[in-house]
């Protein structure tokens, strides 16, 4: 894959940004923060209408057959808009798990529905601080799944989940239909992520992979989702960089533009640095899809994008002063999103350890 975007890809970037600029409403997003269990339906309608749900689904399953580069470009736009639903990245992860498992029938059942937006999938790997717990507390045996997964992203609306579970003492990936799982909404700081605790009690489930194959597949899925999310984080960080820059060239204090103070201008320049480093890692990682060094590149992207979004959140608010911490001004939408994205796919320690393992062969 090239690291230069071609015309078609550039069009995806421009068009997704344009559409979201026109249709996303900050007020609507702010309202969602105080409601549990609601996502931004107009955003999701847009995603389906624009074909973003079909983007990375193979053509034989009703998708457009594109890949991480194109989905990444959409994610940059959704990140900038603090999009009000988590399905793009998590349905993508679920689809990739089905594809990677080799279960042709399951893929044939679910992928066309994911592509058309008729169904929503999610991924339930993490348990607390562990993004991929060595001994998952959820157990699969004899076609049934039992146990709980806390705060699963999108779980309040998803139709099925790919679950990281234990199977005969070894890790496994299974697919569970959420119609027969109990979902308890989690009231959080970024409610449009639709977190729910999932409780399985003999829920019917299908084994996708187990043992080493499950570990490899789970890591690949996590890596792919991390690359999409890294693009989303870069989109958010880049938006904050521009908000900060625009504020600094209009706001005056002590008789001059605040952007003339080095404490402000150097901070914005540093922000530019972390954003561009993360963006370069994202582009590179997307181009390494399917290669031996993909997980390493994904870890580079994930780590630098998380740093970039966190840095930009802190600094953009700080540059705004008082107005930056008001509810209405809405910078906290980014601040909250930076935190949820930083956590959802495994925290920085997890990715640091994974990166070093890829680089040196030494596990943590």
């Amino acid at each position: 894959m090239s690291i230069l975007y071609d015309e078609g890809q550039q069009a995806i970037a421009t068009e997704s940004r344009r559409v979201l600029d026109a249709r996303v409403s900050k007020d609507r997003l702010l309202k969602l923060l105080e409601q549990v269990g609601e996502h931004d339906q107009p955003f999701w309608d847009t995603a389906v209408e624009q074909g973003w749900t079909a983007l990375a689904i193979p053509e034989e399953h009703g998708g457009l057959g594109l890949g991480l580069i194109e989905l990444g470009l959409v994610a940059v736009a959704t990140g900038a808009a603090t999009a009000g639903a988590p399905f793009l990245s998590f349905s993508y992860g679920a689809a990739q798990a089905l594809l990677g498992s080799g279960h042709a029938d399951l893929a044939a059942t679910w992928l066309p529905k994911l592509a058309s937006g008729e169904a929503i999938g999610t991924v339930a790997f993490a348990e607390g601080s562990a993004a991929l717990p060595p001994r998952p507390a959820t157990t699969y045996a004899g076609g049934k799944l039992s146990g709980t997964k806390p705060a699963v992203v999108g779980a309040l609306k998803a139709d099925f989940a790919v679950v990281w579970a234990s199977h005969e003492g070894r890790p496994a990936l299974v697919l569970a239909d959420l119609a027969s799982a109990a979902r308890t909404p989690v009231s959080g700081f970024d409610n449009s992520r639709l977190y729910a605790d999932l409780a399985f009690d003999g829920t019917p489930a299908t084994l996708l992979a187990d043992g080493d194959a499950a570990v490899a597949l789970a890591r690949d899925v996590l890596g792919r989702m991390a690359v999409v999310t890294a693009h989303e984080q870069v989109g958010g960080a880049d938006a904050l960089l521009h908000i900060a820059r625009d504020y600094a060239v209009t706001r005056r204090a002590f008789g001059q533009l605040i952007g003339a103070f080095q404490s402000i201008k150097h901070r914005i320049a540093e922000m530019y640095g972390v954003v561009e480093i993360a963006r370069a890692n994202c582009i590179h990682a997307a181009s390494r899809e399917g290669q031996a060094d993909f997980l390493l590149a994904a870890a580079d992207a994930r780590i630098s994008a998380t740093e970039a979004y966190d840095t930009a959140s802190r600094d953009c608010v700080q540059i705004h002063g008082g107005i930056g911490v008001t509810w209405e001004q809405g910078l906290h939408l980014h601040m909250r999103r930076a935190r949820s994205l930083a956590i959802e796919l495994g925290n920085l320690y997890f990715w640091e350890d994974l990166l070093v393992e890829q680089l040196t062969g030494e596990a943590a």
Binding site: E34, V186, A253, G255, G322, H332
Partner: protein, 406 residues
């Protein structure tokens, strides 16, 4: 046991007796209005017990004890989480300023002031402080709210912002521009204002964390008597600075007004990273150690300042580091605590106490880095006042206020 130790022990015993009814645990689940009502009740009892106005003169309603007694009491009170948050600013800055500058040249307003002081100490009346404006958060001297002479008094128009607890306040202290034709910090005058007066409109501002304890306050032809003036005409900047200096001394907490490091250590004791106890992870150990060293240093600075005051000496300027260093590091430690809890951190209560909860601590930390002197203003203050470094370029200096480009 020194007198001070005895005083502290007695205060602690008294607070222990009050905690079951007023302490933090007793108030869980209450609305803010319920907490305020309970707070007023506690404040009145506190006044009767002699723990309000500890270091204020007896003749004005205080206890006539030393600053050290007050610090001793406050330190004890803090542990119990009493409902005093509504009165902190009121008794911290505006009322002391009223005592100092509000008596009139010949103490002609003494009786009125004393009445206000006692009602404020008892929690019956609340005062707010009206400084910041939309056009200039960090730039105090750049404010635009104006008062024009009208008869033997003044007519005030304009807007203030970030005024804590204005929606519960009976009175406020305010700096306004009375002369726009002179250099910016020379045209200001200091008044007190009746917050119930005609033309005063208080509108709460919701903050990023979801709370609304700060306000916009609009003034539309509000009448001020000249007797409400607390500074010479054009001499308001100096009084305002005094207020801010008081504010800086109060702002001392090595935890940056977030959770204590012990809370972080306890969290780590219950966590695993890669199947190992989190406390075995070098990164966790590094964070604990670096934060401990930093906070211990700040605590030692405070302890030394305290010891110096006790010995009748002037504490050093290093006290000015507290808020800058502590709040900034609290922000990152709070982020880390959430990250390490992983997806369990998504379960979030916006009303949880910021000193006990990593979620609210994280979400409100940016406010802490801006309110009461932003990081940048504090760095400038240290650089200029402590280290004698030159001021920033100031195109507004020496220029009449109405000729500064907007």
């Amino acid at each position: 046991m020194s007198d001070l130790d005895a005083y502290r022990a007695k205060a602690r015993a008294w607070l222990e007796s009050m905690a079951p009814k007023y302490g933090r645990a007793a108030r869980r689940g209450m609305t803010e209005e319920q907490e305020l009502a309970l707070g007023r009740e506690f404040q009145a009892i506190k006044y009767e017990a002699g723990y309000a106005g500890i270091n204020w003169p007896v003749e004005i309603g205080g206890q006539g004890l030393t600053h050290l007694h007050k610090v001793a009491y406050d330190t004890e009170e803090m542990r119990f989480g009493m409902p005093t948050v509504f009165f902190g600013i009121s008794l911290g800055m505006p009322v002391p300023i009223l005592i100092r500058y509000g008596m009139g040249e010949n103490k002609e307003h003494f009786a009125w002031v004393k009445e206000r002081v006692i009602k404020a100490l008892r929690g019956e009346e609340i005062w707010c402080q009206l400084f910041s404006e939309p056009a200039g958060g960090s730039d105090l001297a750049g404010l635009r709210t104006r008062a024009e002479p009208e008869g033997n008094g003044w007519k005030m128009n304009g807007q203030k912002v970030w005024t804590s607890w204005a929606h519960y306040s009976d009175y406020g202290v305010i700096v306004v521009r009375t002369d726009p034709t002179v250099e910016k910090h020379k045209g200001l005058t200091y008044f007190w204002v009746d917050m119930r007066a005609k033309g005063v409109d208080v509108r709460p501002i919701k903050l990023a964390g979801g709370d609304s304890h700060v306000n916009e306050v609009f003034f539309d032809d509000v009448r001020l008597e000249d007797s409400q003036r607390m500074s010479p005409v054009g001499g308001g900047f100096g009084v305002a600075l005094t207020t801010l200096m008081i504010e800086r001394y109060i702002a001392t907490d090595s935890g940056g007004f977030g959770p204590h490091l012990d809370v972080f250590v306890d969290l780590m004791k219950g966590l695993e990273i890669n199947g190992q106890p989190a406390l075995k992870d070098g990164r966790v150990r590094q964070q604990i150690a670096r934060n401990h060293a930093m906070r211990a240093g700040l605590d030692s600075i405070t302890a030394r300042a305290f010891a110096m005051m006790q010995a009748g000496m002037e504490p050093g300027p290093e006290g000015s580091l507290q808020k800058l260093v502590a709040v900034r590091s609290r922000q990152k430690l709070s982020e880390l605590a959430l990250d390490l809890r992983g997806n369990l951190a998504f379960d979030f209560d916006p009303h949880a106490h910021v000193k006990e909860d990593w979620g609210t601590s994280w979400l409100n930390a940016p406010t802490g880095r801006i309110a009461g002197g932003s990081d940048e203003v504090l760095l400038n203050t240290i650089a200029e006042r402590v280290l004698g470094l030159p001021q920033d370029h100031r195109p507004d200096k020496g220029v009449p206020f109405n000729q500064i480009p907007a």
